[in-house]
Symmetry: D2
Subunit: 424 residues, 4 copies
Amino acid sequence: MQLDTNSIDNHNQSRLNAHKNKLSYWADEVEKAEATIQKLIDFQIAIPSWALGTGGTRFGRFAGGGEPRNLEEKIADVGLLHALNRSSGAISLHIPWDIPTDPKAIQELAGQYGLAFDAVNSNTFQDQSDQSLSYKFGSLQHTDAAVRQQAIDHNIEVIRHGEALGSKALTVWLSDGSSFPGQLNFRKAFQRTLDSLGEIYAALPSDWKMFVEYKAFEPNFYSMTVGDWGSSFLYASKLGPKAYTLVDLGHHLPNANIEQIVAILLNEGKLGGFHFNDSKYGDDDLTAGSIKPYQLFLIFNELIEGMDARGMNHASSLGWMIDASHNVKDPLEDLLQSVEAIQLAYAQALLVDRVALEEAREANDVAQAQEILQDAFRTDVRPLVAEARLRVGGALQPLALYRSLNMRQQLIGERGAKAVATGL
Amino acid sequence: MQLDTNSIDNHNQSRLNAHKNKLSYWADEVEKAEATIQKLIDFQIAIPSWALGTGGTRFGRFAGGGEPRNLEEKIADVGLLHALNRSSGAISLHIPWDIPTDPKAIQELAGQYGLAFDAVNSNTFQDQSDQSLSYKFGSLQHTDAAVRQQAIDHNIEVIRHGEALGSKALTVWLSDGSSFPGQLNFRKAFQRTLDSLGEIYAALPSDWKMFVEYKAFEPNFYSMTVGDWGSSFLYASKLGPKAYTLVDLGHHLPNANIEQIVAILLNEGKLGGFHFNDSKYGDDDLTAGSIKPYQLFLIFNELIEGMDARGMNHASSLGWMIDASHNVKDPLEDLLQSVEAIQLAYAQALLVDRVALEEAREANDVAQAQEILQDAFRTDVRPLVAEARLRVGGALQPLALYRSLNMRQQLIGERGAKAVATGL
Amino acid sequence: MQLDTNSIDNHNQSRLNAHKNKLSYWADEVEKAEATIQKLIDFQIAIPSWALGTGGTRFGRFAGGGEPRNLEEKIADVGLLHALNRSSGAISLHIPWDIPTDPKAIQELAGQYGLAFDAVNSNTFQDQSDQSLSYKFGSLQHTDAAVRQQAIDHNIEVIRHGEALGSKALTVWLSDGSSFPGQLNFRKAFQRTLDSLGEIYAALPSDWKMFVEYKAFEPNFYSMTVGDWGSSFLYASKLGPKAYTLVDLGHHLPNANIEQIVAILLNEGKLGGFHFNDSKYGDDDLTAGSIKPYQLFLIFNELIEGMDARGMNHASSLGWMIDASHNVKDPLEDLLQSVEAIQLAYAQALLVDRVALEEAREANDVAQAQEILQDAFRTDVRPLVAEARLRVGGALQPLALYRSLNMRQQLIGERGAKAVATGL
Amino acid sequence: MQLDTNSIDNHNQSRLNAHKNKLSYWADEVEKAEATIQKLIDFQIAIPSWALGTGGTRFGRFAGGGEPRNLEEKIADVGLLHALNRSSGAISLHIPWDIPTDPKAIQELAGQYGLAFDAVNSNTFQDQSDQSLSYKFGSLQHTDAAVRQQAIDHNIEVIRHGEALGSKALTVWLSDGSSFPGQLNFRKAFQRTLDSLGEIYAALPSDWKMFVEYKAFEPNFYSMTVGDWGSSFLYASKLGPKAYTLVDLGHHLPNANIEQIVAILLNEGKLGGFHFNDSKYGDDDLTAGSIKPYQLFLIFNELIEGMDARGMNHASSLGWMIDASHNVKDPLEDLLQSVEAIQLAYAQALLVDRVALEEAREANDVAQAQEILQDAFRTDVRPLVAEARLRVGGALQPLALYRSLNMRQQLIGERGAKAVATGL
C-alpha cells in the first residue's frame, strides 16, 4: 500500500487555515520558533522492524490484522509512517527475524520510501529452530565456549547483513544473566561477556559503532550481566572507542533518574543511542510520552545541553529509535503517537532559555530554574511540529489522516486479518 | 512413571542414621519439635497443573524435556512429587488447559496417587482458538455485555468441571485493566467487574469459596481492575461470605509489607488462600523462598498468629498453592525446592515463642521481639521437616532421590525430549 | 506585611496587553474557556501553617530568613499568597504548633485577609516538652491505654480549637507502626487504633468530617498501621459516615496508580481530601507538579469524572491542601508554584472532552482515548489561569510580582534573618 | 563504665555446658567449623561514633537515656560492645561531632579498650554554627568556588585528625545533588565534584585510602551527584589508585542487586568498604540482617568469592562498618544485634562449598547451585559464632549479658536520663 500524495495535500489543505492561525500565534510567542522548526525537520527517529506487529506478554497476544508478513511489507509500513510524518526515515532491522535475502533489492525498496537503515540488532535471547546450541543459560556469558562462539558468529553475521544494507551500527542487547542466587559466577560471567564482545568488536567495520544496551531485569529475574549504565559503561570503555552505551527508557530500576545518566554518559563521550518508550512498572514498552511526558522532556533537555556542549549534531550523532510493544493499539497508530510525543519533547527542550537557566543555576535560584524548564514544557509546541511536517510534505495531523483513509482496513484487505508479523 | 516404594525405602535407609542423629539433637534443642512434626505432616500444598512444564517470558521459552502431554501425565507428575515429599497432595486445575473429559476416571487416577483436587482456575486472560469474542480489552470488565457474558459462562463452566472432580473453590484471576491513561473508566470497570463476579458467585455451590486474586501490574501496564488487596477486599465484601481475597506473593508493588496485608485480611475474615513463589522485581514467579526466605517466614508468622486467634485449622482453612514458573530449572525439581522452603518457613514460624513474643510486644521491647523471631528463623528445622516426611512414607531428601533415580531422564524416555506441557 | 493593591494593579496593567492577546487566542481555541475560568475562580487550595518555613530532612535544615514567628505572621504569609493568586483562601492549622490563644482575634485577622480555616491537624508523631507520656511506640495504637487516652484527648482538644475557628474537619495522620519485624501485633494494633479513632469520632461535631490519612512508610520503616488506602478505607468504613480517606500524593509505594485509588474511593463515597505535593522516591514533599505533572493531571481527570458523576461540587466537596516541604526554595515561592501547578492540572482536566472520551472508551479505542487526554494536557492553559486571577483581583504573574517587590527581603527586614517557623 | 571480666566469666560458665553440647554437634556436622571459627575471631566491624545515641527522622527523635556526652564516653560505649562480643574493635569518627582535642589521650583511651580507629568521616551535609558559608546547595559540587574550598579544607582537616589517631582512610559521603529538575547542571556538578575530590585526594597520606560513598536519594530528592556505584566508580577511577567505592546497603534504588555490584567492584579492584544496615523502603538504617538476612548472606558470598579470587585478606583488606540509626531500640543492643547478624552471614558464607558451587555453575545446574547456597544459609551457625567469642574472652550471649547486668540503667545512672549524643 502506498500513500497517495494527493491524500496528504487534501488533508493539509482542509486544515491549513486553522494551522496557519495557530502557527502565527506561536511564532510570535516563541522566539526560537523558526530555528526549532528547522531542527525538527532534520530529526529522524528509526522504527524497529519488530514493532510493526501486535506485541504481547507471556500471558498472551491479541493480534490485530494486516500485519506485515515479510521484510518488504515491514519496509512498506515504515514507508507509510514516514510519508505521514516525514520523521520516521529509518528502519532498524532485527536478525534473524528480517534477514534480507536480496540486500540490493531491499535497499532499493527502502530508497523508494526515503528510508535509511539504522542500527542492526542481533538476537541471542531466543533459540531459533535451526540452532545447534541453546541460549537457555545465556549467550555471550555462557560457560560453554561453543555457545559463546555461536553467539559471536551470529553477531558478526548480523554486522555483515548490516553492511550490505548501509547500516553503521550494531546494537547488542543481551538477556544474559541469572534467575536465582548462586546460578552465576558474576565475575566470570562479566569476563566471558567482555571477551565475547571483544571478538564482535574486532569484526566491526571501521566506521561502525557498537551499542551495548543494558537492562535491569527481565527476562532474567535475579541478575542481568549488562544490568545498568555502570556495567554497560565498563564494557564499552574496555572495548574501545567504537563502543557506546545505549539507553532504553524502560530498562531501569524504579525511580531511576534517567536524565542524569544521560548527562553523565554524554559527558564521558560514551552515549551511543536511545530506545524510546514509556513505562510505569518495568519494561512496559508503552507509547513514548504516554506515562511520564515531563521525564521525556527532561531527558531531551539533557541531551541538548550535553550535545551542544560537545558540538554534536542533534540529528546524526546519536542513534534514535523507538522500541515499544503495541499490545492494545494498532501498531502504526502507536508509532505515530510515539514519534509525535518525542518531537514535542524535543521541541520543548529546544525552547529552554539556556542562558537564563545557567544564570539561575549559578545563582542557586532553584525556583527560577524550575520556572524556566516548566515555561518550555508548558508551551504548546504542536503547531511547530505540524509546521515542520508540512514543510517537507508530511501531514498536519498524521494520525487523523491515517484514520480517515482507513489504512488499517486497507492493510487487512491486502494482507488478511490473520497476518502476524515476526517479533515479540 | 510410578515411583517404586523400594526406592524410597533404600534412600531413607541409607540416610537414617545421620538423620536420627540430627533429629535427636534438635528434639532436645527445640521444645515444640514433636508438635511441629505433626503439623508438618498435615500441611499440604497444592501444585498447579500449569507448573509442570517449562515456563517462559515474552522473550522466549526454553523447553526442557519429558513434560506432561495431557492431564493424566500432569497428575502423574504431581503424584510423583507427592510420593517423594508427602506434602503435595493436591492438584489445582486450570481450564481450558486441563479439561477433564472423563472426570470419574481422572478422579480415580488422582486417588491412586493420593491426590485431591484443589481450587479450579478460570482463564479469561487469553483467547482460545475456538472462542467467539476476544478478551483483548478485558473480560469481566469489558464494555461489551456479550464479552462479559462469555467470561461469566466460562467461569461457571469451570465451576462445573470442579464440582465433577471434588474441588471446593474457584480462583478468579483477572488480567483486566488498562495499559494507557484514558483507556478505562475506572468506575465503570469496577462496577462491571463486580456485576460479572456477582453472576459467577450466584452459581457457586453452597460449600464452595470464590477466591478473588489481585495483581498490581502485568499484563496490563497502567491499571489492573483488581489491583491490590484493598480492591480485592472490596469486591469480596460486596459479593458475600463465600468470597475471599487470594494473595499471590509476586503481585505487589515494590517493598509492600505482605505479612501485614495477611494479618489484616485474616482479621477481617477475608483471607482465602495463597499462591507461593518469590520475586525480586515483579511477578517473577521464582521458587518459593529463593530470594526472600525471611519474608516467607514472617508471612507464616502472621498466618499462624491470625489463624490461631480465630481458631482456624492450619491445614484446611486456607487454600495453599504454589504458583511459579520454571524457566531455567527442571519443573519438578523447582517444585520440590518450593515445597521444602514453604515447609521450613512454616516450621520455623511454629517454633516462635508466642507467649514471650506478646510479652515483648506489650512491653515495647523491640529488640527482644526481634530476637524471638530471629531465634526461630535461625533454627535449622530441616531435620524436623525430614522427619515429618519420613513418618508418612516420603523421602528424607526428595530432591536427592529424584536425581539419583534419573527421573527426568525416565520422563524424557517416556514422553520424548520435545514434549511441551500446556501453560504459560 | 500587607500587599499594596496598587502593586497588583501596576503589575497587571503592564502585562495586560500581552495577556489579552494570549487569552483571546485561547478563548478561540478552547471551547470551554469561559466555564473553565469560572471554575478556577471558585477553586481554593488550603495552605498548611507548617509549610511557611524552611523544611528539612533528618540530615539537616538550612533555614532561609523572614520566616513567620507566630500564628499571626503565618496568617499574614497565607494572606500574602492569597492576595497574589486569589486561590489560597484557607489555612490549615497544626496543633500544638499553632495553638490560637485568642481564637476570636485570630479569626478576625484571618478574615481581614479573606482566609477561612480548613481542616485542623493533630500531632501524635512527636513528643512535646510538656507531655507526660511518650509516643515513641505509637499513639492511638499504643499498648498502654494511658498513652492512647492522651492521644485521644489531644485529638479532641484539636477539634475544640478547630471549632473555635470555624474549621469543619479533623485530619488524623498517624506515624504509628513499627520499624522491625516482630515489634507489633498487627491485629491488636489495628483494633486499638480503630477503638481510639472511634473515641475521637464520637467527639466530632455533627457537621464535621474526619480525614484518616494513610502513608506507606516513614517515619516507621517496617509497617505503618494506616499504611495504604485499603487500610484507611477499612477504618473509615467502620467509623461511620463522617469518616473519610485522605490521599497524600507522596504516601505510596513506588509506581502506585494514585488516580485509580482516587476513582475507587470517590466511587465508594469515601474520598475526603487531598494533600498535594510531588515526589520521585518517597514522601519527598516537593512542589506540586514539579516531577510528574501528567500524573497530577490524571488525578484531576479522575476527580472531575468522579465528582461530576456523583454531583459533587468541585470546590467545596473535598478538602484540598498543599502539604510540601521547602528545603531549598523560599517557602512562599514554592507555594505559589504549587498552587499554579495544581490550577493548571485542574484546568487541563476540565478541558477534557468527556463525551468523546467515553465514546472512545466504550469502543475500546485506546489510541483515541489517549489522544483526548493528551490534547487537553498539551493545551497551554496558563492564560486561562491568569485570567481567573485577574478577574478577582490577583496578579497575572504572582511569582514575578512577589520577586519584583522584594517581598522576602521585606519579610527578613520585619522578622529577621534568623526567624524560624515551627514545623518540620 | 567498665565491664567486669568476672561478669563475662560467670555468664559464660553458666552457659558453657549447653554451648559445648551445641558446638560438638555442629563441629561434626560442618566440615569447616574450625576454620570458620578462626576467621570469625579475626573479623572486626567498626562502630561509628554517631550510632551510640538514639537516632531520629525529620518527624522527631525519641531519646533514650544514658547516651554518651562526649568522645570519651563514646569510646567507652564501643569498648563495652567490644568487651562483650570481641568483634567491635574499631571506632569510626565523625568530624566535627567528635573532634579529638587531645589525640594522644584519646588514642591511649581507645587502646585501653583494645580499639583501633577506622575511617574518619567528614560532614559537609550540614551547616555548623561557626561556619562561614552554607552547604544548602551542596559542598564539593557548589557553584561558588569559596564554598567548595571550605568543604575541601574541612576534608583535609578531617584527614589530619585521622592521622593523629592512626586512621588510614577517609570516607566522603556527599549529600550534594538537587531536589528539582533544572536546579543543577549535571555535567558541571560532576566536574566540580571531581575537581574538589581531587584536591582532597592530593592531601591523602601515602598509605591512606579514600572511600567515595554513593547514595541514590535523600536528602536530595531529585538527583544525587554521587548517586550510584557507576558514578562512584567513575570518580574513584579518575582520582587514582587510593580512591575506592564504598557501598552502604541502604543507598540503592528499590530491588537493586547489591551483591552483583559488590562482585563487579571487587573484580575491578575498586571496592573499598562497607556500611552495614538493613532497609525495606529507602535508607531506613535498620539493624543489619533484620529485614533481608538472605541478601546479607549473598553479599558475603560475593565478598568471599571475590576477595579469595584476588588473594585479599578478609579482615583487613576492606573497611567494615555498621551505619545504622536506632530510633526505637537501645543503641547498644541494636549494635550487638547488628554485629551478630553480620557474623552469622559471614560464617554461613564461609561454609559454602565453593568447589561444588563452581561445578554446578559450570554445568548450569541452577537447582543445585541454589541448594548449595541454601544449605549454608540454613545451617545454624550460632554456636560457631559464640565459640569464636568465647575463645577470645567475649560473652557467649552478649545481649543477654548486657541485659542481665542492667547496663543501660548503669549508663543512665552515670550520664543521666537526658544525655543526648551528637549525631543524626
